[in-house]
Amino acid sequence: MFLTVTKALLEGFGTTVELFLLTLVFALPLGLIVSFGSMSKIKPIKWLVRTFVWIIRGTPLMLQLIIVFYVPGFIGMWAREQETTNMFIQFLASWKVMDRFVAALVAFAINYACYFSEIYRGGIESISKGQYEACSVLGMSKPQAFFHVVLLQVIKRIIPPMSNEIITLVKDTSLARMISVYEVIWSGEAFIKSEGLLWPLFYTGAFFLVGCGILTIIFNRIEKKLSYFSV
């Protein structure tokens, strides 16, 4: 029985890990772009981006999941009912209900990009103006100053809040079951219904503990690696 459960849970956990990793792959760079937007000198861009971040951070991830999953399908349905030659509406008509996993990924990536962007912004804004000025006086360009001087200092500053947020993401992936993504808790819960077994549920907890434990070790390593300088 133990083997059967382990196999079932591993399958669910595979989806969890996949969702987790893919969310990071998209949200980490997207967050940087969003943070640049929220610091933009062009006021309309800045306020548009900040309002978007405010909405995403101010509403439950669960709601965002459901919206991302259902809304495109509904728009497509509405568009198909229209009798029009409008190219845009015809394009909308091609929208079908999203794949569950893709919908979850989109919602998670957008949500976490917004959280990450605020951490990036805090980190970037905390670097003293003097660093940029020293670069400028030495004839470096702005991108050179950012990538060769500022970035590593920002990374050092944001590692603690980022590790918090990323560990929260591990656990948040379980929300994906809201739109029927077969993740690890679901696979554990299935045994209550089918076999009347409770322990697989606790077993799923062990998967999360191990996952978060590994991440904690990785982040401690990075922190140690960057401890040779102080910002």
């Binding site: 003293s128 020293a134 670069c135 006086v137 030495l138 004839g139 001087v149 200092q153 300088f229």
Partner: protein, 260 residues
């Protein structure tokens, strides 16, 4: 021929006039000290000359090359002027070293990035980088830090950090080196080593402009002294004229606050 010429320079932040028409020039190899009370615009003047701040009006010439002219409005031309600004070095009050780089790398970083644009960079990469390292070591040696090449800023005293930043500025081979209160962020017992370094540079005929509150130092290192008061040059002359026998009552009042 003067290496630095500042003409009718003004600078306002919003409606506050900070510089109200500054004109002076400096000969090559001379040391100019700028003194004046807090808020008189000394830092702003330095920042305008270095291009960290854009002046409102006036003209600045370095080694006969215009680096700022408020009559030029064409964006492309202005950009070209910025390029001439690279002949000016600046040492900050707060050092502004790059914390993640060693003393040596702090000095080499800008040179190595600039070297990438050289057409022969790909072929001669190794030789070019070695040459840059050698240059950096020469300047760190000059400021007495050849035993700290591989230390990070957080492992150095304030005085040592400031000397690294001086080496970093020197390595760019500036025609004029500016200092903005280079000893103000240091404990009194550490100011001596910085002043000694600057004295050595003066002996090597480095052209320097030094904003300082160290009156005795200004007296014996400078060829000229400017006393700034409320955005204008209130007095300009030899250290003897300005610091010992000032004509302007404002200068006298200012110097009196230092006697105590």
């Amino acid at each position: 021929m003067s290496i630095l010429e500042v003409k009718d320079l003004t600078k306002s932040f919003g409606s506050t006039k900070v510089l109200k028409g500054i004109s002076f020039s400096l000969e090559e190899g001379k040391v100019l000290s700028i003194i004046g009370s807090s808020g008189s615009g000394k830092t702003t003047l330095l920042r305008c000359i270095n291009g960290l701040e854009t002046a409102t009006a006036g003209k600045i010439t370095v080694n006969e090359k215009v680096v700022f002219d408020s009559n030029i409005t064409d964006k492309k031309e202005l950009k070209a002027l910025k390029h001439n600004q690279q002949n000016i070095g600046l040492v900050f009050q707060q050092f502004n070293l790059f914390p993640q780089y060693t003393a040596l790398s702090n000095v080499t970083l800008a040179m190595k990035l600039a070297a990438k644009k050289r057409p022969d960079y790909k072929h001669n990469k190794k030789a070019i980088l070695e040459e840059i390292d050698a240059t950096a070591k020469k300047f760190l040696d000059k400021v007495g830090l050849s035993d700290k090449l591989n230390n990070y800023p957080c492992e150095l005293s304030g005085g040592q950090q400031q000397r690294v930043s001086i080496a970093r500025a020197l390595a760019m081979n500036p025609q004029i080196l500016f200092f903005d209160e280079p000893t103000s962020a240091l404990d009194p017992e550490l100011t001596g080593e910085i002043l000694k370094t600057i004295r050595q540079l003066a002996e090597d005929n480095m052209t320097m402009v030094i904003v300082t509150h160290e009156m005795n130092f200004a007296k014996d290192v400078s060829d000229e002294v400017i006393f700034m008061d409320d955005g204008v040059i209130a007095e300009h002359g030899t250290p003897e004229e300005v610091l010992v026998n000032p004509k302007n009552p404002r200068t006298r009042a200012f110097l009196n606050t230092y006697e105590k």
